[in-house]
């Protein structure tokens, strides 16, 4: 017997591939659900399938999907960012205010300022979470109120109206390319880029490692603090970008802009298959989750069902998504256990 080639052990491979593919098919399942909701609603109300209506579906989901990208990065590390809605409101108002007094300011600068505002708040979130080791739930909940409060001081009861905002800026909100809204294209590019990065780069795999087993991440030499900080920074920056897009879309902004977005984002991300305790989930899933929730929302309107059902249905889906994950992991555990038992009996 040579040292290097010890005899091969009994096969230790277990039949997970089927279950794994089921997990991978999560995005597919959501896509099918979107089509199902869309199809059923169209049967009932043909106007739902009109180009304008579909454009509205995409535009309505775009901002939540964009915020979902950053939120996914954060939740994957077993943290959460609840400040995104307030960041949207503040960055949108600041940019609107700038345009009001500097009407000829370059459009690009508007985006830069919005992203910078978001990045600054994201940096504070990341700093307090990683350096002061305050749970992110508390930090970002506090920031939700602090930022909204600062927003209120700046807004001071005023409203920025469409006349103050350059046409070139609002064009981003309504223009289309081959019938696809710019807004949807921008978000799709961000989702695709982030999705690619989350799969392909070491630093983004670190994020999954941190959320999957924080202690092991430390032992593996992962710079957990830096990575989590970066996740909050990106989440904040994308929320800033979402603020600029919010302004471009609505062409007006007051103190209430973006209120409640944080919970809609978390719901979309979880429905999209990102585990709330970190470690797994994809950016694409989160974006599809946003599209699904928005499609249901609009389907209710198109079917003349009271909008009050909307929240109940979103909540129900959220519970269903979490119950499904739980059921799936129990099933995985059980099937592995019995497979192992069988393996031992061999």
């Amino acid at each position: 017997m040579s040292v290097i080639t010890a005899p091969a052990a009994a096969p230790t491979e277990l039949p997970v591939s089927r279950l794994e593919s089921l997990l991978r098919a999560r995005e597919l399942g959501i896509a099918l659900a979107i089509l199902l909701v869309f199809g059923l609603t169209t049967l009932n109300n043909h106007a739902f399938a009109r180009v304008a209506s579909i454009q509205q579906l995409l535009i309505g989901a775009a901002l939540i999907a964009l915020l979902g990208v950053g939120e996914t990065l954060v939740i994957v590390t077993r943290n959460v960012d609840l400040s995104v809605g307030s960041i949207v409101g503040l960055s949108a108002y600041i940019v609107g205010d700038l345009f009001k007094y500097h009407h000829n300011m370059p459009v690009v600068l508007g985006f830069v300022v919005a992203i910078a505002v978001g990045a600054a708040i994201g940096a504070i979130n990341g700093f307090v979470t990683t350096v002061a080791r305050v749970p992110s739930l508390v930090v970002t909940l506090a920031m939700l109120y602090v930022v909204r409060g600062v927003d209120g001081l700046i807004v001071n009861g005023k409203t920025i109206d469409p006349g103050s905002i350059p046409k070139a800026f609002t064009a981003v909100g309504y223009r289309t390319l081959f019938g696809i809204p710019w807004l949807a294209i921008i978000v799709a590019v961000v989702v695709a880029t982030a999705g690619y990065a989350m799969r392909s780069f070491r630093s983004s795999r670190d994020l999954y490692g941190i959320g999957s087993n924080p202690d092991a991440a430390v032992l593996a030499g992962i710079p957990a603090g830096r990575r989590v900080f970066t996740a909050f920074l990106i989440s904040g920056s994308l929320a800033g970008l979402a603020g600029a897009l919010f302004l471009a879309l609505h062409a007006q902004i007051d103190v209430s802009g973006g209120t409640g977005y944080e919970l809609a984002v978390v719901a979309a991300v979880v429905v999209g298959g990102v585990a709330i305790f970190g470690g797994s989930g994809t950016v694409l899933g989160a974006a599809l989750g946003a599209v699904l929730l928005n499609t249901i929302n609009q389907a209710l309107v198109a079917s003349r069902i009271s909008a009050f059902w909307n929240g109940a249905i979103a909540g129900g889906l959220l519970l269903a998504a979490i119950a499904f994950d739980r059921w799936l992991s129990l099933r995985v555990a059980r099937s592995l256990q019995s497979a192992e038992g069988a393996h031992r009996d061999l």
Partner: protein
């Protein structure tokens, strides 16, 4: 490992167990830890951590639980910084500011507890942070899976590198850990009890890997509870006791008895003050207990005035049986009777009312409320008796706690302090007191002395012995062979969820237990 390639000759290399003669003295040591100390608050985890590792040599580190082995490992790993003492690698003094620094210096660690990422693939677990990169610095998954498969081939195992780590058996998790450590091509490989969960075949394969690594010039530090493994795979042995270095010797100059004496600092009989048992009537009667996928057909009895030990490897189902008896987990079939009365399925409260007490393995998580005071913790399981008009009487609570603190010789400064301030051994006494205050007829105790220093350990053992003499029935789960041999009147050995042997105190010895636990003849020194 390139640092020591001259002067390191590997002579007389054979493939049998034991008997490997390598010429170590001519090479300078690759790693020296000298008089390292480490304290956590009032607890001295390491008093004198000293070890010298030579290239091409496997070095066993032996000692009881709480001897400071794991703390020493964590200092080598860069997880803890030593409070004082010196660490030399290749003759140069180094200080590690984190695990990455230790790894960069060529030290690779296999931890006692698997440190896997359950959501990531097996290959990614191995190469975390060092994934092979392709074009544009993106991870080359195909290359990563290939590299993982190659390491598995070296280990002689088949494991799908692309599957997620979640759901791997404990042994397979350990194999992934070993593969991870090997992937570093380190000059020093530290293995903290890598064999605890492995079967004999897998252990044999691991020893072959150690031999290969040594042939390549690496130094291996091998920590184990199974003394015979030190003889089977190591050239040198260091023994620790109570956080301190005791001695280092070439393996051929010591015997198992020498090692045990050095580990416990006295003879075994003195450590385990066991009064001969006088078993009375049956207290616990378990028949054909089964929990699908976990354990099957477990039948045994525990009588008044005896200690029955559940032994077996990690993952054999010992704790799970205890949990099902107590009703924390539901049983699929079978019956549990306490003093003739059947316990309902899945109702811990019914078990408690029937006079069963369970002292869990993990006292910090499951046994105590760490932030609550000593007296509140002691009273926690007896609150029903301390109430008047639905309110808890503090004076009665304090009274109860004082009674038990005295009986258990608890060492504390103030009753109102949190249990966090107590040492591990005294925390265990608080958990014991909490349950004994209910006056149970059956005590189920899981790992009674895990993480407790040797002195307090003997006290806990003496306490258990006196309780049994007073008529308590005890079902004890222990991973420590010495504890099982020293304390138990009968030993039930579990293997893969079934009873492999039911041994009397006279029949039970290291050999018979290990044989039953592994299902075959244990690895013996040649």
């Amino acid at each position: 490992m390139a640092r020591v390639d001259d002067g390191t000759s590997v002579k007389g290399f054979t493939f049998g167990w034991g008997y490997e003669v390598t010429d170590q003295r001519s090479a300078p040591p690759v790693l020296v830890l000298d008089h390292a100390t480490k304290r956590f608050g009032a607890v001295r985890a390491l008093e004198d951590g000293s070890i010298t590792l030579y290239p091409s040599e496997a070095h066993a580190l032996l000692g009881e639980n709480g001897a400071g082995k794991s703390t020493l490992v964590k200092i080598l790993a860069g997880v803890y910084g030593a409070d004082s003492g010196e660490l030399l690698i290749g003759g140069e003094p180094v200080t590690f500011n984190g695990p990455a620094a230790s790894r960069a210096a060529g030290v690779s660690i296999i931890y006692q507890e698997p440190t896997l990422f359950p959501d990531l693939s097996v290959a990614e677990n191995i190469f975390m942070g060092r994934q092979p990169l392709g074009v544009g610095r993106r991870i080359d998954r195909a290359a990563m899976n290939r590299a993982a498969t190659e390491i598995f081939a070296r280990l002689g195992v088949q494991l799908d590198p692309a599957r997620v780590a979640r759901g791997l058996s404990v042994a397979d998790q350990q194999i992934v850990e070993i593969a991870k450590a090997l992937s570093f091509n380190a000059q020093v490989l530290v293995m903290d009890e890598p064999t605890a969960a492995l079967t004999t075949v897998e252990v044999g394969r691991l020893f072959e890997v150690i031999r290969t690594l040594r042939a390549q010039g690496a130094a291996v530090l091998f920590i184990t509870h199974r003394i015979e493994e030190a003889f089977a795979s190591c050239q040198r042995v260091t023994i620790m006791r109570d956080g301190s270095f005791v001695r280092t010797a070439p393996i051929e100059e010591v015997t198992v008895e020498d090692i045990i004496r050095s580990m416990v600092g006295r003879d075994l009989d003195a450590l385990f003050p066991k009064t001969p048992a006088a078993p009375g009537e049956v207290v616990l009667d378990v028949e054909h207990l089964c929990r699908d996928g976990v354990f099957y057909d477990i039948s045994f009895q525990v009588r008044r005035g005896e200690i029955v030990a559940l032994a077996g490897l990690v993952g054999a189902g010992r704790t799970e049986v205890a949990r099902a008896v107590f009703g924390i987990d539901r049983r699929t079939s079978g019956t549990v009777r306490v003093r003739g009365e059947e316990l309902p399925n899945g109702k811990p409260l019914a078990a408690m009312n029937a006079g069963v007490a369970l002292v869990p393995e993990d006292r910090r998580q499951q046994g105590l409320v760490m932030e609550m005071s000593i007296d509140q913790n002691v009273a926690l399981a007896s609150l029903g008796r301390l109430r008047r008009f639905g309110l808890i009487r503090r004076s009665r609570e304090r009274e109860l706690a004082t009674t038990w603190a005295t009986r258990l010789q608890l060492r504390f400064s103030r009753m109102g302090n949190t249990v966090l301030t107590l040492s591990g051994g005294n925390q265990q006494k608080v958990v014991l007191g909490k349950w004994l205050a209910r006056n149970p007829s059956l005590l189920i105790i899981d790992e009674p002395t895990r993480g407790i220093d040797v002195g307090t350990k003997a006290e806990v053992h003496r306490l258990l012995d006196s309780l049994v003499v007073d008529g308590l029935a005890v079902l004890m789960i222990s991973s420590e062979l010495l504890e099982v041999l020293g304390m138990a009147d009968r030993v039930i050995v579990l293997r893969e969820g079934r009873i492999a042997a039911d041994l009397t105190r006279a029949e039970a010895d290291e050999d018979s237990i290990m044989r039953a636990a592994t299902g075959q003849s244990p690895v013996a020194a040649a």
